[in-house]
């Protein structure tokens, strides 16, 4: 904080310091006061619409929205005076009069911000007649359920979808009390340009947007006589604990495996092994492209939301830039239903594979015709939390245990798949070795680890200059894609993740997705990576064995059949 623009003000009588241009809500938050808010989100444009974060400022006649009022020197602010509390309570009551009040039977029960604030403000009734709308629930999407009867019009979803992701699937429609959030011309989510990333689900504070649940199907499966296999994505171990009160940034790999085994899975496999295989194939593909002067930049394709984004908006121009490699999930799924089924001599039809993913778009991915018959169900991190609670698993006190062989061993390179820049770093570790023809020691590519939306680096590998770029959020990706389209891209290799922060910020991860929490999750994954002896995918003995026993060489015919895919142009309304 430079001295020049430092100012002093009072919040609830206590003197605090702030910088000019800061907003009241942020200064209060830094000083331990979390002013209630719905429409405010540190990553989105401030709009000051929900009027819950109002505070009293001495000398000002009206109450001020703290999310969009800048601090001034000498300001005296009261965040919880009787007048403020009364106004806040009434604005909450107005929202509740227009909200489906079926909390105990709502999917967001106990996760809901609206519910939390109602309880904190001790709202026991609403004096207003119900103005509850009777809109139809939009159940059309395979990932996201939209129930406008619970919408409080905070606009977070619209801002995430349009401003951050540039997907433009939903917008504000009509005026006044008739305002709704819908896809254009009242089309369904399925018909819209929605890429299933679920960032709107994470942003929604009132249960209007939730993931499409597969919990009942999984419970049925757990009670069937099928052989049950589960795989868990790299980022789940870094976030699942939060749902059980474990502080953010604590890896819970061992407990997670124990829990899954306890609820009835016969085998617990690690998607990380799929990630290691992805890297081997992807690095191979990249080296081939570089050596053979083929289409560059090559873009990673682990993220199903980005894939749909690309297929919708850039198919004609850029489909050749997309790596043909499947995502780790899809790779492990195909290996389970072929290699592993073969190994345990079971008909793939008698195996049920459940994926635990950070992501609502994975629900869409497993239903793609290309992957038919592979993975059966996807549960998000939040859903797994709900399932474990429903089955009364005492998660916090569980002992640790290990993944099952032969699809359970992974390297540090796979762990970092869960955060932005991780796939690139993992790929570079392997590609650098391949191009240099040696076992390189320096394997930390720190320049691509930050939370900046677009990160680039230039490296020299085996005498060749390689420019790489890492980008998260599809809005930021769009800028790079436009650049490629115009033939101006300076890059050789690009990683795209649709969600802010990568998979640790995925649409199926527990909220809140603020920068603080996301940074802790990243650190958790980096810690896991650094604690491992083997940190390069191509050194994974399990992977090497897999190639030796079954796949042959990277890029072989069988590898192509099981580990690669194709893309198709997608249309939208």
């Amino acid at each position: 904080m430079s001295e020049r623009n430092k100012i002093k003000l009072r919040i609830n009588g206590k003197e605090v310091e702030a910088k000019e241009g800061e907003y009241i809500i942020d200064v209060a938050s830094r000083n331990g006061i979390d002013i209630p808010h719905f429409c405010y989100n540190e990553r989105l444009e401030r709009i000051g619409a929900c009027r819950l974060c109002i505070v009293e400022v001495k000398g000002m006649d009206k109450l001020q929205a703290s999310c969009c009022t800048e601090v001034r020197g000498g300001m005296e602010i009261n965040t919880h005076s009787p007048r403020v509390l009364e106004a806040r309570r009434m604005n909450m009551q107005l929202l509740l009069a227009n909200h489906a009040l079926n909390c105990t039977t709502c999917k967001e029960n106990l996760l809901c911000k609206l519910q939390r604030y109602a309880s904190e403000l001790m709202i026991e009734d609403t004096p207003f007649a119900s103005t509850q709308r009777q809109d139809e629930v939009d159940d059309s999407s395979v990932s996201i359920r939209r129930d406008n009867n619970k919408c409080i019009l905070c606009e977070q979803c619209v801002r995430v979808c349009n401003d951050i992701q540039t997907v433009y699937a939903i917008g504000m429609v009509n005026r006044g009390i008739n305002t709704r959030i819908t896809p254009n011309f009242n089309h369904t989510m399925k018909e819209s340009s929605c890429i299933n990333c679920g960032q709107c689900v994470v942003a929604c504070p009132s249960g209007a947007l939730t993931e499409k649940s597969s919990i009942p199907e999984v419970i049925n499966a757990l009670n069937s006589d099928k052989y049950l296999i589960v795989q868990t994505a790299p980022s789940i171990r870094a976030t699942l604990g939060e749902l059980f009160g474990i502080p953010a940034g604590t890896p819970v790999t061992g407990k997670m495996v124990t829990a899954l085994r306890q609820i009835g899975f016969d085998k617990v496999f690690d998607t990380n092994l799929g990630a290691d295989v992805t890297i081997v194939e992807e690095a191979h593909e990249f080296v081939e492209r570089v050596k053979g002067n083929k289409v560059l930049p090559m873009i990673t394709t682990c993220c199903p939301a980005w894939i749909k984004f690309g297929e919708q908006f850039y198919y004609d121009e850029l489909n050749k830039n997309m790596s043909t490699c499947r995502s780790p999930q899809a790779i492990l799924a195909s290996l389970v239903k072929t290699y592993y089924a073969n190994k345990i001599k079971k008909d793939p039809k008698d195996i049920i594979l459940v994926d635990i993913m950070p992501c609502t778009a994975k629900k869409y991915e497993i239903l793609r015709p290309e992957f038919k018959g592979e993975a059966d169900f996807v549960l998000t991190t939040v859903e797994l939390g709900k399932l474990l609670k429903q089955l009364n698993v005492d998660f916090v006190n569980l002992p640790d245990s290990k993944f099952d062989e032969p699809l359970g061993f992974s390297t540090g390179a796979a762990d970092i798949f869960g955060h932005t820049g991780g796939v690139m770093e993992a790929a570079l570790r392997t590609a650098a070795d391949t191009l240099a023809g040696e076992d390189l020691k320096n394997i930390d590519y720190k320049e691509i680890r930050s939370m900046k939306e677009i990160k680039e680096a230039e490296l020299e590998i085996g005498g060749k200059k390689i420019k790489v770029c890492v980008v998260h959020t599809t809005g930021a990706a769009r800028k790079l894609l436009e650049q490629i389209k115009e033939g101006k891209s300076p890059y050789h290799f690009i990683e795209i993740m649709a969600c802010y922060g990568g998979c640790i910020g995925g649409g199926g991860q527990p909220p809140p997705h603020n920068k603080k929490t996301l940074a802790k999750r990243v650190q958790a994954l980096i810690k896991v990576d650094e604690s491992k002896k083997i940190r390069k995918s191509h050194k994974n003995p399990a992977v090497l064995k897999l190639y030796e026993e079954y796949l042959g060489k990277p890029g072989s015919e069988r590898a192509h059949k099981l580990l690669h895919t194709r893309y198709f142009k997608k249309s939208y309304v």
């Binding site: 009027r51 819950l52 109002i54 929205a65 007048r83 009434m90 107005l94 004096p127 409080i152 019009l153």
Partner: protein
């Protein structure tokens, strides 16, 4: 009427003599204030914009007159558009804007063609490099708010934006922008050239239970009795200042000026007086005006969007004659909280009419 006197680019000539800074100084000295209702010194607004750095600046003429009972801008645009355009020209000159917009409310579509001709003529006569475009609204009261006009010209929904930043700092397309009302701009050349010009003379739109409704030039400080006489008000009981300004009981000796009305917890706004006769019930008026606000609330902020629905419900319930003690208390509390917490000027003033009616005419709200 003075406002209809054609200046024939005399103001523009004077501006060329005085230069931008001199013109701004003169306007400040003459005390020209905005006629949109906020009563801010126009010269000061221009000065802020002039001083702001920016590769591009804009001037917007707010011709989205939508306040119920207000029709003075329509008269000016019909009878003396030349002065308005000259005002725009001068505003652009003083703020270094190269592009101006006239945000014309959709309901005044019939004025568009004539305005375009006037723009063409004045720009060619003045020999000044400037682009003036007419953007037509499409029916939204909220677009009278300056930040909502900006959103509307930017092709977004007409949602208001919190202030600061004010338009002179960050306005249209993020650039410094001056927004002035039609009447203000029409007064600019007059104030510059006419020595007898005074800021105290305003255009009043008079309507309601009156025999001679119309636009009149009236001095600030005139007694209500005098105004009632001009428009031949019929047995007046109350006067509304538009819909947003709230009401006061009719009293012949009440002197009309901003401070007096403010003291009564009403707002003069754009000098629109709607007279209500003794045969009316103020509860019916409250219902009618709340219907207006419910229809025109943009829906962005919670208290105005949700609140107006409940204000109307409560008023209708009171009207139905049920035991209403609790409802009256709730109505008043809700009205205060909408006023205190809404985002924009419209939201903050949309319950003035309820609060003032409850204050002065509580009898009308009692069960019969």
């Amino acid at each position: 009427m003075k406002i209809l006197q054609k200046v024939n680019l005399e103001g523009w000539k004077k501006v060329n003599e005085l230069g931008a800074d001199g013109t701004i100084e003169l306007l400040k000295k003459k005390g020209l204030t905005g006629r949109g209702g906020a009563c801010f010194l126009s010269g000061l607004k221009w000065e802020f914009t002039r001083k702001e750095k920016g590769d591009e600046k804009f001037v917007i003429c707010n011709a989205d007159e939508g306040e119920p009972g207000t029709f003075k801008d329509k008269l000016i645009l019909e009878k003396n558009p030349e002065n308005v355009i000259e005002g725009v020209l001068i505003a652009c000159y003083c703020t270094d804007a190269k592009q101006a917009y006239i945000y014309l409310r959709g309901e005044y579509h019939y004025l568009k063609e004539k305005l375009e001709d006037v723009i063409k003529k004045i720009l060619s006569d003045a020999k000044f490099d400037l682009k003036i475009d007419i953007v037509e609204g499409a029916g939204a009261y909220i677009c009278g708010d300056e930040t909502a006009i900006i959103a509307s010209i930017e092709n977004k929904r007409g949602y208001p934006h919190f202030k600061p930043p004010y338009p002179p700092q960050k306005g249209l397309f993020g650039k410094p922008t001056v927004i002035n009302n039609v009447e203000t701009l029409a007064n600019v050349p007059l104030a510059l050239v006419d020595d007898s010009w005074s800021d105290g003379v305003r255009l009043f739109s008079l309507s309601g239970d009156v025999s001679k409704p119309g636009v009149y030039e009236i001095k600030m400080g005139t007694k209500l009795e005098g105004i009632a006489k001009i428009c031949q008000a019929k047995d007046p009981k109350a006067v509304y200042f538009g819909a947003a300004g709230g009401c006061i009981p009719y009293s012949s000796n009440f002197v009309i000026n901003v401070e007096h009305i403010c003291k009564e917890e009403a707002m003069l706004g754009a000098c629109s007086l709607i007279f209500v006769s003794k045969k009316r019930n103020m509860l019916d008026m409250a219902i009618n005006i709340t219907q207006f606000f419910k229809h025109e609330s943009c829906g962005k902020c919670t208290p105005c969007r949700e609140g107006n629905v409940h204000v109307l419900k409560l008023l209708e319930k009171i009207k139905s004659g049920e035991d209403n003690k609790k409802d009256l208390v709730l109505l008043e509390k809700l009205s205060v909280i909408i006023r205190d917490t809404a985002l924009c000027g419209l939201g903050q003033s949309c319950t003035n009419h309820v609060l003032t009616a409850l204050k002065y005419f509580k009898g009308d709200f009692k069960v019969k």
